[in-house]
Amino acid sequence: MDPDLNLAGTYKHQGILKQENPPITLLTTDDIDSVVELSRLYFPGSKESSFQTLKKRTAQLYFKDGELLPHVKPIVSRSANGDINGFLGIITKSFQYKNRMITMANCHHLMATEDGRKQLMPMRLLQHFLSGPQDISLSDGSADSTMELWKRLGGEFVTGESLYYKIPLRPLSLATIHLLKQYPNRMGESLRFVAASMDSIAERLKIPLFYQKKPFNGIIPLSTELMSVLLEIIEPFYLLFPTYNLTDIDSLFQLLEGETKYGTLHKAALFDPNNQPIGWFIYYAQKKGVCEVIQAVSIPGKETELFNALTWHAFSKGGVELSGRLMPSQLQTPFTRKAFSVPARMWTLIHSSDFELKHTIQTGNAFLTRLEGDLWVL
């Protein structure tokens, strides 16, 4: 048993012992149904997946073998009658940091019922999580309210990891999608057709905003093995880097491929004409053409090639818009001139007692992407 863990499941951290009242316990397999019910209630996106799919994925995520920190797991709180009234999803990941291994715990899906909110469960769950034995705590894509709680509990948000972009690929079609969202009408189909035709004409005329130039680089499908090799190439450019093995990558790919609500998954690696690696990208393309980038990573200095290839690839798959989160290394690249930066109000949050670790992340020297982020695919 972890010597820092008492019977109530609370951690003794930095000499402070906090007893939760009402108690917070680790998630068990018996709780999965209730958690999935809650998720479908509080995260409307979850409704797009079937109950059984969510249940399977929850079990797959939280109850896998070989856990890094056995006591850092998803937590639940209960009301007086035993019903779950709060949940916080937690996964752990090991990172390489200056020739040593450190542990990162990532929390997501903070949920509390009305009863749970009255019992201050959002704050209690977060406090419990942050007092755990992990070297660093992370929350990815958090809402404003979570950020407020997080900051009060001693955490901070990472500006450089909280910037999102949108790149129009077929501007008129995109404008029509937004217009019809605001003002749905019977002429929708006709409007879409007209917009698509005009986008197509503008593309043939090679009008810059409407035209994506085919890259000279080689784009090949991204396999588990290739991803592993590319990660090894990228690693020396970062001080803090997640450790992967083939099994990890394979299971992440399976998770991504199993998710259909965001559209079709595309993942590709990019090589220059001399067959030297440039980077890779992973994104979903929705039927309506909105493409959501999960990872777009390049060797530093090759960001422009990467994004040129990515925009062309998404365009060739019928994309009307590309959106994603910028990595700090991509802030200065020329592609951002084509992009709208979006105040997405989704924050990357960190918490650690190690100042150097926090500084490493705040200065863009950590490899944090949405793939090992909050596993938002739930």
Binding site: H13, Q14, I16, K18, N21, R117, K118, Q119, L120, M121, P122, M123, R124, Q127, S131, S145, E148, L149, R152, L153, G154
Partner: protein, 91 residues
């Protein structure tokens, strides 16, 4: 007890102002009655810090300290106490 009275009055006033309450009893339970939620708790912490010129450290946050005006008064009294100086006396 006498020392606590001005603090109690100020705490009551701060709680009422922050949570937009007309009145509040000294021992009224703000958590069990559902008056407080996580976000209003944060607002209350900030208001108390500003009002009493204290700093509530993240690792010292104990939710029981915010259960009632009575609990908050005790916490502020505790936090407002001057930190005893350690004096080393040479031989």
């Amino acid at each position: 007890m006498k020392q606590q009275q001005p603090i109690q009055i100020k705490v009551t006033s701060t709680v009422c102002k922050t949570l937009t309450l007309e009145t509040i009893a000294f021992e009224e339970d703000l958590i069990d009655t559902g008056v407080l939620d996580s976000l209003s708790l944060i607002q209350l912490m900030v208001a108390l810090e500003n009002e009493f010129n204290i700093r509530i450290e993240p690792e010292e946050i104990d939710f029981e300290d915010y259960r009632s005006v009575k609990a908050m008064t005790a916490m502020i009294t505790r936090l407002s106490l001057p930190v005893p100086l350690s004096v080393s006396v040479g031989s």
